[in-house]
């Protein structure tokens, strides 16, 4: 009997082609769309194109599944998404950090609740349209490798997946470029072939996270208290409307006239202060990362060299990774890196192999 796969479908071209390719490879496909949030709750424009969790996207999934003769379901995961991702997103900003909700969603929703749903309905695997590869290594561990399309490597956001979950995951797009994926979709007349892609935070429909937090403030109470903007030299330069609206390295939106460009250096929640200074003081050589998950390797006992990526659009930089006894790691870069930001993820690579990752403390 054909192995059965629950394919996570957003309504975009990537997951459509993932489902199509697996069907070609002989798997039995079940399509599913995770309904994660409502526009009524998160704000933004419900009629905008190219967004997941809209009726139109769900319709696109249905039509694609019908074309490959697969059943399709909408799974309501909005309650879990609200507590695991949205509430966490708000809490992180409130605590002065800059969260990556996609990583949180991958770890807590897709490779947890969604995988469980797959097992419930008798599927052997789940599949997604991520541009990354999963391989079983000689040491018996499942590893993630960067996809061949270097412009949209998505291994970075997948560091939190456990070994058990990786063993049950298929990522058929790891060996393809985006243009090839579109060609496949066009050639086989998949409805989503030409669809624009969204690469921002899905539940912040207008890509304006400050608007999102402000709306959240109005509806659910204060996210951040206003306070002073202070220079690293101690001078008070002005006021801000809430520490949550700032992220490290940010230059725009400070509302301060100053002879040289100023950047956010630190968000000091306890004193409601945003510390600003020149670009040069943004460079640091050390970070510590918590909640570490090891992927290609067992938890190491000794320090090791790796290339470490500290945000989605960061070029991995050589560093020494030192495991500490409490399960966290210390990362020491060979060269100082700009804007190391608490809340973002530090992910360790050996060339294209993802070794592990954690959240920057």
């Amino acid at each position: 009997m054909a192995r059965k796969v629950l394919v996570a479908m957003s309504g975009g071209v990537d997951s459509s082609v993932a489902a199509f390719l697996l069907k070609e490879q002989g798997y039995e496909i079940v399509g599913a769309h995770m309904k994660l949030w409502d526009y009524a709750e998160v704000g933004g424009d419900i009629y905008r194109d190219g967004r997941c969790c809209t009726i139109d996207s769900i319709t696109d999934c249905r039509i694609v599944c019908d074309a490959i003769d697969a059943p399709f379901y909408v799974l309501n995961m909005s309650k879990q998404f609200r507590c695991d991702v949205i509430d966490n997103f708000v809490a992180e900003y409130k605590a002065g950090r800059t969260p990556n909700p996609c990583i949180r969603c991958n770890t807590d929703l897709k490779w947890n609740a969604f995988l469980r749903k797959a097992e419930e309905i008798g599927c052997d695997f789940i599949a997604t349209g991520h541009y990354a590869k999963i391989e079983k290594r000689d040491n018996g561990r499942y590893c993630l490798r960067k996809g061949v399309d270097s412009t949209r490597d998505q291994a970075y956001v997948l560091w939190g997946i456990t070994q058990e979950a990786l063993a049950k995951t298929l990522m058929p797009l790891g060996g393809l470029n985006k243009s090839e994926v579109r060609q496949i979709a066009t050639k086989h007349d998949l409805r989503t072939a030409e669809k624009a892609e969204s690469r921002e935070i899905c539940f912040v429909a207008d890509d304006d996270y400050r608007r999102f937090l402000r709306d959240w403030d109005d509806k659910h109470g204060l996210v951040a208290a206003p306070g002073e903007i202070v220079h690293t030299d101690g001078t008070v330069l002005g006021r801000h409307e809430g520490t949550a609206y700032f992220t490290i390295g940010q230059r725009r939106g400070l509302g301060i006239a100053y002879p040289t460009p100023l950047y956010v250096q630190k968000v000091d929640v306890a004193n409601h202060r945003v510390i600003v200074g020149g670009d040069e003081s943004l460079f640091q050589s050390e970070l510590s990362a918590e909640g570490v998950n090891w992927v290609a390797i067992e938890a190491p006992g000794e320090p090791f060299e790796a290339e470490v990526k500290i945000r989605y659009r960061h070029k991995p930089a050589p560093a020494l990774v030192t495991p500490l006894t409490d399960g966290s790691v210390r990362v020491t870069f060979k060269q100082k890196q700009r804007a190391i930001t608490p809340g973002q993820s530090a992910v360790f690579f050996d060339d294209d192999i993802l070794l592990g990752g954690g959240v920057i403390a």
């Binding site: 009726i55 379901y73 909408v74 309501n76 749903k117 419930e120 309905i121 008798g122």
Partner: protein, 390 residues
């Protein structure tokens, strides 16, 4: 195994006899019922005959019956139309807690956007409204009270007449959504003492996209649409003649079969409920065993999500539903079960099986074979079930 369809409360297949009755009005007699020529006259006659037939079933005058696109539209005209019409003198509405969204959402819209006061009537554990709760809430400022005749999720049937009687003492209007009742139990607007009543064709083997609203003679209503004199300006738009003819034929057939269908559904449903209860532990029946449309069976399986059960059944070619169907296919926690004080953990586990004319004992036996292992499998993966059992 063929497909087993146990979702008749969502919709039903159109009876071939109904299709046959409609066909002439889609082809040869295609005229616009408002036209002056022969084509128009033919269509108009068919439309008015249909109106007479439908009126005869619910025992109103043909002039009190207005064709619409279905239940949602009828409910919206009833709620919004009366609220707007009387807003200068009265601005208070009362609806039941277990109403369909087609009543709930216009009422909530009036409250949140238009400054109306809205009261919700609570229900008991079986989903029935206690008349006292209406007495406690109704005032001289109340313009309309809306309570559904039969519930779509549980099949619970309300005692409408006492509620309507109380309503009329306050010079307010009473509306009932009879979408899930019409054609399954006797629906008589005089006996129910209602001023407005919504019905639709597709729940009882008629076509989708046609329904009707009964508006008692003398009741004023502000139209929601403008653009012509059709349906006495209360619902303008070129008449759906074939649909109206289909609705009339649908109701005619349903009335003829009413007693037979009712006893057959009761028998099959009891057989099914007993079968499930006998084979699966920790199952709860939602609703009223006594006051209900027998074809609706809502069961909660402890410790598992209704969504997972429904998906697993679909894989076995059995169509059931968790919660009520909506456009996106998302299952939401049911406001109906929550209002009945069903514990959330059981509300999550609810599955609605709605039987119909095509349902056979053999089909139910197939479900009774497939369902127990599905529930067992899901429970084996459910930490909640394990913790309940400890």
């Amino acid at each position: 195994m063929e497909q087993v369809y146990l979702d008749h409360n969502a919709t039903t297949p159109t009876d071939p006899e109904v299709v046959e009755a409609m066909l002439p009005y889609l082809t040869g007699s295609f005229g616009n019922a408002s036209s002056v020529h022969q084509f128009g006259r033919d269509a108009k006659v068919a439309l008015e005959n249909a109106r007479e037939q439908v009126a005869a079933v619910i025992k109103c005058r043909p002039a009190e019956l207005y064709f619409t696109s279905g239940g949602t539209e009828s409910d919206n005209i009833a709620i919004l139309g009366t609220a707007y019409q009387y807003r200068k003198v009265k601005n208070h509405l009362i609806i039941g807690a277990t109403e369909h969204h087609a009543v709930l959402e216009p009422a909530e819209h009036l409250k949140s956007r238009e400054g109306f006061d809205l009261d919700i009537l609570p229900v008991d554990n079986e989903g029935r409204i206690v008349p006292d709760s209406l007495t406690d809430r109704i005032t001289d400022n109340t313009s309309v009270v809306s309570v559904m005749l039969a519930n779509n999720e549980t099949g619970t049937v309300q005692d409408i007449e006492p509620l309507a009687r109380i309503t009329h003492q306050y010079d307010a209007l009473f509306h009932t959504d009879a979408v899930q009742a019409i054609g399954k139990i006797d629906v008589d607007v005089a006996a129910l003492d209602v001023d407005l009543l919504s019905l639709t064709a597709h729940k009882i083997y008629g076509p989708k996209g046609v329904g009707a609203l009964f508006i008692r003679q003398g009741v004023k209503i502000a139209p929601l649409f403008y653009g012509g004199g059709h349906e006495k300006r209360r619902r303008p738009g070129t008449e759906n003649v074939a649909g109206a003819v289909g609705l009339a034929r649908t109701l005619e057939i349903a009335q003829k079969r009413l007693q037979d269908d009712y006893s057959r559904m009761s028998e099959l449903a009891e057989y099914f409920i007993d079968g499930v209860m006998g084979k699966i532990p920790d199952v709860h029946f939602n609703g009223s065993r006594q006051h209900r449309i027998p074809s609706t069976v809502s069961l909660s399986f402890e410790g598992i999500e209704g969504e997972s059960t429904v998906l697993s059944l679909d894989i076995k070619h059995i169509a059931a539903s968790s919660g009520s169907a909506c456009t996106s296919g998302v299952t939401e926690p049911s406001h109906v079960l929550m209002a009945m004080d069903v514990p959330p953990i059981l509300g999550q586990g609810a599955v609605r099986f709605s039987l119909g004319r095509s349902t056979t004992r053999e089909q139910l036996d197939y479900v009774l074979t497939e369902l127990p292992p599905i529930v067992e499998h899901l429970r084996s993966m459910s930490p909640i079930y394990k913790s309940i059992k400890q």
